[in-house]
């Protein structure tokens, strides 16, 4: 069919531009999550009081593209991270509250990217 190859090429390019933009958005959001968590508790960072500082410094993020999904991960590296997150009814939880705080803006930006490309 005349033009089909060109249309296919444009769809392919559009999809790749959109994925690249969403990955960049996720990387930026991950950096913001991590930076916010690593601030001192007194400045709105992770809510525990440091003893060794390992838990705060161990907060990290990464972004991977697998199975046609972009995954942004924000996590602990210390073994006792699960106690911080779930102990005391979540009194010292950092990950879930932080992600919830940033999610609306992130999803709004992602929606704009998907609709605009």
């Amino acid at each position: 069919m005349p033009g089909a190859e060109e249309a296919s090429r444009r769809i392919f390019e559009r999809r790749h531009r959109m994925i690249a933009a969403l990955i960049a958005l996720a990387q930026n959001a991950g950096s913001q999550l991590e930076a916010a968590g690593k601030r001192p508790a007194s400045s709105g960072g992770a809510p525990w009081t440091d003893r060794t500082g390992h838990a705060r410094q161990g907060l990290f993020h990464d972004v991977v593209f697998v199975d046609d999904q972009i995954r942004l991960r924000y996590a602990h590296t210390v073994e006792y991270g699960v106690q911080l997150e779930q102990g005391h009814s979540g009194k010292y939880a950092e990950l879930e509250p932080r992600v919830k705080e940033h999610a609306p803006e992130f999803l709004a930006q992602a929606e704009r990217i998907v609709k605009s490309r």
Partner: protein, 146 residues
């Protein structure tokens, strides 16, 4: 909203008779007991009018008896899911079950625990104009841990 949920669980839950505010219990607190916590609210996706409050109910039980913990979690799930409740200011709301957690042992409280999370649909205008959780009793303490 907090008071309505707390009162409903106090009046109707058979397996757990003690309900506490978050962050008050200690390792010596008699078990089982439950804790009702609010996770804040968030806008509904692609919906300019909708929003959700998220409510989490924790059950704390003696170590070694996850069967009774599971039973209590299931009871709470069935009590609150779809139940029409009313805030002190007369606004109706209905929690919807969202998920149930994995098993967890809380070192600090020396208890087995699981939680069940609900969301409460509402209009954003309510979210902006009402203190929908009913009070601000989270103690805000920022002590110990790590």
């Amino acid at each position: 909203m907090r008071t309505a949920i707390w009162q409903y669980l106090t009046d109707n839950c058979q397996r757990v008779k003690t309900w506490k505010q978050p962050y008050i219990a200690e390792a010596t607190t008699p078990k089982p007991y439950g804790v009702v916590s609010f996770l804040g609210d968030a806008p509904a996706l692609s919906n300019a009018m909708g929003a959700f409050d998220e409510v989490r109910v924790w059950i704390y039980d003696e170590p070694g008896d996850l069967v009774s913990t599971d039973a209590a979690i299931n009871e709470v799930k069935h009590l609150l899911d779809g139940q029409l409740l009313t805030t002190g200011s007369g606004i109706g709301f209905s929690p919807e079950w969202l998920n149930t957690s994995r098993d967890f042992y809380d070192d600090a409280l020396q208890a087995l625990t699981k939680y069940v999370t609900f969301r409460v649909p509402k209009l954003r205008i309510w979210a902006e104009n009402e203190n929908s959780t009913g009070d601000g009793d989270d103690d805000g303490n920022n002590d110990e841990e790590e």
